[in-house]
């Protein structure tokens, strides 16, 4: 089921890094970013053409700002696209995204090295 979803995504977004067997990821977070886009698409938050256009804009913007465009930054653009669409579609504002980002940072700081990092309400206290 999930590979069917992915096949639709890779067909719609030809730029997704892949080999003969499908998409490949350089790090776990890239797969998370990929999976989130698949899920939001499933939920009807955006269409693939809409996603492709937003991603292309993001890459164009990054290149204008000096992105080396070697493929290594592909999922960074993917993530920025995800954040942009989430904000634009009213799912969560940029301010909310930043607040959660800071909370996770706080959670990492108070978690001893090697323990699983979990978000707690007090992490939002700032």
């Amino acid at each position: 089921m999930s590979t069917t979803l992915a096949a639709a995504a890779t067909a719609a977004i030809p730029s997704i890094p892949r080999d003969d067997d499908g998409p490949v990821f350089r790090a776990p977070w890239e797969a998370h970013a990929f999976a989130m886009a698949l899920t939001l698409h499933e939920r009807g938050v955006f269409t693939w053409p809409e996603w492709a256009a937003a991603l292309a804009d993001e890459i164009k913007r990054a290149q204008a700002a000096g992105d080396p465009d070697t493929g290594e930054t592909y999922y960074l653009h993917w993530l920025a696209t995800l954040e942009g669409l989430v904000a634009r579609k009213g799912v969560a504002s940029m301010a909310t995204l930043h607040r959660y980002r800071d909370a996770w940072d706080h959670a990492a700081d108070r978690t001893p090295h090697g323990k699983p990092i979990e978000l707690r309400p007090e992490d939002f206290a700032g």
């Binding site: 089921m1 999930s2 590979t3 979803l5 992915a6 067997d21 499908g22 998409p23 490949v24 990821f25 350089r26 790090a27 776990p28 977070w29 890239e30 797969a31 998370h32 970013a33 990929f34 999976a35 989130m36 698949l38 899920t39 939001l40 939920r43 938050v45 960074l76 993530l79 995800l82 954040e83 989430v86 799912v91 969560a92 909310t96 995204l97 930043h98 959660y100 980002r101 909370a103 996770w104 940072d105 990492a108 700081d109 108070r110 978690t111 001893p112 090295h113 090697g114 323990k115 699983p116 990092i117 978000l119």
Partner: protein, 207 residues
């Protein structure tokens, strides 16, 4: 970046990117757009396709280059660092060698100690509590579940990863591979063989 060995990280670190990914995931989950289980299912489908998978190349090199193998067993992180094309593996990667006398297997209490740069993502069962506790108490039984049969007199050593130390098993080179190139040999090295819950493929065995 300077190498300051006096500085010890006593807390966890997430990269800026990881923070953003976690933030998004949390928000989407809280708002009901994403079910963690559904997300995991997608990621799991790609578990073998994440990361540079340097492990197989490192193992194949150790099989063909005795000097590298010696250095690798002495200091895994340092030896792997000398391979220019291989990305960072973090500090304190210990490589343990399988021999006829001793079979090594690795359990991990936390997925943060798993060397995904070398192996890709861990299999689901690897993180499961039953696997971890049984592996320590009854390693031979766990290995039997994975169809790994070892001679009775082979000692089984279980290594529990910690925050400080991660392990990579150097499996025995399959027979019938004399004269093979590193590239050919790397094809035989499976993830499970580097955790110690499997053997490398034999020549001619399908992938």
């Amino acid at each position: 970046m300077s190498h300051d060995h006096d500085h010890h990280h006593d807390h966890s670190e997430l990269s800026e990117t990881e923070l953003r990914v976690r933030a998004l995931e949390t928000i989407l989950t809280e708002k009901g757009y994403v079910e963690p289980a559904a997300l995991d299912a997608i990621i799991q489908a790609y578990e073998t396709r994440i990361g540079p998978h340097n492990g197989a190349r490192v193992v194949a090199k150790a099989w063909t280059d005795p000097a590298f193998k010696k250095a690798l067993l002495e200091d895994g992180s340092k030896a792997i660092g000398t391979l220019g094309h291989v990305s960072r593996v973090g500090d304190h990667l210990v490589v343990v060698e399988n021999t006829k006398e001793r079979h090594n297997m690795v359990v991990c209490t936390l997925c943060s100690c798993y060397p995904w740069e070398m192996l890709g993502l861990p299999p689901v069962w690897y993180k499961a509590a039953p696997y971890r506790s049984r592996a320590v108490k009854d390693p031979r039984g766990v290995l039997a579940d994975f169809d790994v049969a070892l001679p009775k007199d082979t000692e089984i050593r279980v290594w529990d990863s910690t925050a400080e130390t991660r392990f990579l098993v150097l499996p025995m080179r399959p027979e019938g591979t004399e004269g093979w190139s590193e590239e050919q040999l790397a094809e035989l090295v499976t993830r499970d063989s580097m955790i110690g819950t499997g053997f490398p493929r034999k020549p001619g065995e399908p992938a």
